[in-house]
């Protein structure tokens, strides 16, 4: 894939906003791949954790907004736990989720949750799910 690097994209206001929201310094990541190796759900992500950081370093936010990665991340913090640079991909992905949710766009709706699950699941699953998926 050929990418034309553009300073305006790399240091865009949106990238700065993502850094501000997530508290992460995107350029600290040196692409060792430990996060993707430890992530239990990287197999299910359109763009796995290491590449999430690379896309952001290149200013390619649009691709990430279309990928499922932010919605599949379970926030288990294995990525952060094993990062030699103390970068949290989980925090970064939560920043991306918040970008969507703070615009009032829901990723999930209560009527889509299967009724047997609503009846039997621990409340914490629903409360946490709503924090992660609903604006």
């Amino acid at each position: 894939m050929k990418i034309k690097l553009n300073k305006n994209d790399i240091d865009s206001a949106l990238i700065q906003q993502i850094e501000r929201m997530s508290g992460e310094t995107i350029k600290r990541c040196y692409q060792c791949g430990n996060c993707s190796g430890g992530c239990p759900v990287s197999y299910a992500m359109d763009i796995p954790p290491t590449q999430v950081m690379r896309y952001l370093q290149l200013g390619m936010v649009e691709e990430l907004m279309e990928a499922n990665s932010m919605w599949v991340c379970v926030g288990c913090l294995q990525c952060f736990s094993r990062c030699p640079q103390s970068v949290s991909v989980a925090n970064t992905l939560e920043g991306l989720r918040q970008l969507v949710l703070r615009k009032g766009v829901d990723h999930d709706r209560i009527e889509d949750i299967p009724l047997p699950m609503l009846k039997s699941a621990p409340q914490q699953a629903i409360v946490c799910g709503f924090r992660k998926f609903v604006s």
Partner: protein, 286 residues
């Protein structure tokens, strides 16, 4: 010794057995868990974006209320523990966020509470040696896999209950009860957590891996500290391999209660499809 206790929403309802077995066991080893007079849900997830002040307000409210009951607060659910402990650290270390949260709550909480998990009380205040002496029914022949998951351990700098990659606190407790702990590779892996709500495929794979990994190493029963881990592992039983299917998934306090001589009918082993009862019977413990 009395310790203020935060039950949280799940232990107050669907995981009541976890709550009652812990309280009974506490009495047997010499401390009393006192429910906070007033509490609310912790939010069930620590906000990972530091600018999300709203997400800190619910747990901060719990902490502020708990401070009026004492200097220490204990809890059982891994998620409550994680959220309360991390929020407490923010209130302790981060002046700016502390000010914002306090202004929003119209309160003045300073983060001076000490948050301890029930397992830490057993290890650090009671001591596993003393626990061993208190055991009336040693769990001989019980091969138990201690499943930690994520929230009890990570991030290490904020939580610090044990080594985040190779914890032993639950194995040490199991040994004190006379059981045989079984090490397995997936003991600190995630169960799929809140994806139970919308991604069955991921939960089936992750929880299935945990069960398979434990059974492959010889575990005959799996012990957990988290109602969501318990639910997720239990819910994928039909999807795992034939040898792993039906392995009982219980709270650590249920085995603790059994070893301390609690009445089996009060321990709630029925909730797990009766698998635990059958297993314990087979081992001659019932």
């Amino acid at each position: 010794m009395k310790i203020p206790y935060y039950p949280g929403c799940t232990l107050n309802t669907v995981a009541k057995d976890f709550d009652t077995s812990a309280k009974e066991s506490a009495r047997a080893v010499g401390f009393e868990m006192e429910d906070l007079e007033q509490w609310n849900c912790c939010g069930a997830s620590f906000p990972l974006t530091p600018d999300n002040i709203m997400g800190l307000s619910a747990p901060a409210k719990v902490l502020s209320g708990a401070k009026k009951a004492g200097d220490t607060l204990t809890t059982l659910c891994s998620v409550c523990y994680n959220v309360l402990k991390r929020t407490n650290k923010v209130m302790q270390d981060d002046k700016t966020r502390r000010k914002s949260v306090n202004e929003f709550m119209e309160d003045d909480y300073d983060g001076s509470l000490k948050i301890v998990h029930y397992l830490e009380v057993l290890r650090d205040d009671i001591g596993f040696a003393k626990l061993k002496e208190t055991v009336t029914k040693p769990l001989e022949g019980i091969k138990a896999g201690a499943y930690y998951g994520c929230m009890l351990l990570r991030p290490f700098d904020d939580i610090g209950i044990d080594n985040a990659e190779a914890p032993t606190i639950m194995e040490d407790m199991l040994k004190a009860l006379g059981a045989t702990p079984v090490e397995f590779p997936d003991k600190i892996e995630c169960c799929g957590a809140h994806l139970a709500m919308n991604n069955k495929e991921v939960v089936t794979r992750l929880s299935g891996n945990v069960i398979d990994s434990a059974v492959r190493e010889g575990a005959e029963i799996i012990v957990t500290t988290c109602p969501l881990c318990q639910y997720n592992l239990e819910s994928v039983q039909e999807s795992v391999g034939a040898t792993a299917a039906g392995v009982p998934i219980v709270y650590f306090t249920q085995l603790l209660g059994l070893a301390l001589g609690q009445d089996i009918e009060q321990l709630g082993f029925d909730a797990n499809g009766g698998a635990a009862k059958k297993y314990l019977k087979r081992k001659g413990l019932l």
